[in-house]
């Protein structure tokens, strides 16, 4: 699904990612954790095609395609989805128009007919329930004046509508109350299947209680310093990142 070998990224003189390698197979759920500023969002943004970084990698492939050859929209149409840590407000474009344009762009790419507004609305309505968003949000401008939690749920709505093959979720669980967390976790779990993969960036064990990952990676200072199973996240929760530094010399378990 996703194959990264020795990915480096810099902005000007600052190197942010310093040689990341990661394999994500179909059906797997990976969690990426790590302190603030360690490069998690940078990794997510680069995977979804954000410009502005100088990137080198021995390999950076999604479904066998070289990601660096693809525009952000091509990646999205091929099923790559990134939920933003800070979703962008776009005044003047309604949520429903945005969703439908995105959805039909993906359909067109697959050689399918666009869905008209009536059929599309029917489809979206059923998704709204799953993420517990009121229908009135469809008429509102994209993310504009949404609360933090509403923005996160709106990301989940987009994910459910676009049905990606690889979903990269950048702190979708941050800033959610307990009910919203359960809703978001429900969305993620509903996406889980043999041919889909999920990469969740998170700071908290609480999401991982709902969505149990197959692999956990710790990112620090632009490198993956430790990888393990779900229990790695629990250890981290108890002992904090300081514990990692003490074991910095040890081999990663992979």
């Amino acid at each position: 699904m996703l194959s990264i070998r020795n990915l480096r990224a810099r902005v000007g003189e600052t190197e942010i990612l310093k040689g990341i390698s990661l394999e994500v197979n179909p059906g797997e759920v990976h969690a990426v954790m790590g302190p603030n500023g360690s490069g998690k969002s940078t990794l997510a943004r680069i995977l979804s095609g954000r410009e502005g970084y100088e990137i080198t990698a021995d390999k950076l492939e999604y479904m066998g395609h070289d990601l660096l050859e693809m525009t952000p929209e091509e990646r999205a149409r091929e099923g790559l989805f990134m939920a933003f840590q800070y979703p962008v407000e776009i005044p003047g474009i309604s949520n429903i128009q945005f969703l439908r344009t995105a959805y039909n762009s993906v359909r067109k790419h697959r050689g399918e007919e666009p869905l008209d507004s009536v059929d599309f609305l029917a489809m979206v309505k059923s998704r709204l329930k799953e993420v517990d968003i009121d229908q009135s949000f469809l008429r509102r401008s994209v993310n504009t004046d949404f609360s933090g939690g509403e923005k996160k749920r709106n990301e989940m709505l987009q994910m459910l509508v676009l049905e990606p093959r690889l979903a990269i979720l950048d702190e979708t669980d941050s800033g959610l109350d307990i009910d919203a967390l359960a809703t978001v976790a429900g969305s993620i779990n509903s996406l889980r299947s043999e041919d889909r993969s999920i990469v969740m960036v998170t700071h908290y064990q609480r999401l991982l209680d709902y969505v149990v990952p197959d692999h956990v990676h710790i990112l620090a200072d632009g490198r993956i310093v430790k990888s393990g199973k779900a229990d790695l996240a629990q250890k981290l929760e108890k002992k904090g990142y300081g514990w990692l530094a003490e074991h910095a010399g040890e081999e990663a378990e992979a």
Binding site: E51, T71, E73, I90, P91, F98, S105
Partner: protein, 429 residues
Amino acid sequence: MNAFAIPDFERQFDVRREQAPAFPDYRQKSLDDLRQQGLPGAKTEDWKYTSVREVLGETFVEATPAAPVAVPECAARHLAVMVNGYLNTDLSRLEDLPEGVTLCSLAAARDNHRDQVDAMLGRVVRHDRHPFAALNGAFFRDGLFLDVAPGTQVQEPLVVLWLSGAGDAALIQPRVLVRVGEGAELALMEQHRGSAAGHFTNQVSEILVGDNAGLTQVQLQDTGKEQLVCGTHVRCSRDSRYRAQTIDLGGKLIRNDLAISLDQPGAEADADGVFLAGRDQHVDNHLRVDHRAPNCDSSALYKGLLGGGGRGVFNGKLIVHPEGQKTRAEQTNHNLLLARDVEIDTKPELEIYADDVKCSHGSTSGELDPDQLFYLRSRGIDSPEARALLVRSFALEISERMNHSRLRDLVGEQLEPALDRLARNELEG
């Protein structure tokens, strides 16, 4: 045919005097005003960013009513077609206008509605700082007279199409008088459509909005190779509502002077605008709102979109006179710069001589937000479409402020395709 170079106005005036034109006193006064202030040059403050050198260097022929024109399809129920500044009743559709509406050429009004014409002509327009208005006053030939009797409602928009014919570059100088009587309501859409010829139109409209009356006026301008200077002078009476939308879809040179005077308590005015300018296009909007009475509200929102090679100017003046206590007013201009080789000069100005007022003004200019573009693209929307969506959403905020739905649709039909062309950088003069 008479050749007319504008700087030669003194001699032209003498020639014309021989023909004993109508309204000699007003013409003489206009000439005096024009002589006193002179034609705009590089040093004229109000014309600092807009050069009329080309217009002043040209020799025009005098416009005639009998020019061949292509009339665009227009489904409007009430339609007045103006050819080279003259009303063409054959091309117009005026049968269904409600009783109480008088629409005729200015020449006909002079014969049939003399008192009303005398009460209005030259009484709303200001010549000082408007040299082209004075020029129009000295030389206008004909134009349009529109009167809506007290209490009359014209909900279905009246569309006035300003067309120009083929032929040599002509000087077109119509005068428009509009009165909306007490308690009456009018939805008016004027559309300027340029032909391929290099005409110059210098239009002046004088508008009175009566007590408790409402006028919604759209001016949609798409002038191609033609140059247009359009002065719209409005006086608003007690408790009246004036709503203007100026929609510029581009042109070689467009200059609007919209001057609104809130003369009596409770008057309200909104002046909104969208202006588009692409390669070799220059659009200049000068707005002035005078608050001369207490408890008047005004707001203005102008949005400029500049594509490669485009040039835009916005100047908004808000003046609260000593009588204008309890004024609430705002003026805002936002501009979207879609290429590097564009230029925008924007200046909102505020002059307040009353102490109990709430006024604000401001302007911004910027490029498309890269974060918004990336967000759209990350959902599969390709880059040209993402640009087009953002360009539309920027401009259509103005449409959303239009509460007359038919007018909104009529504007949308023309604005939306122009926005798409602009987003693709295909707007050219």
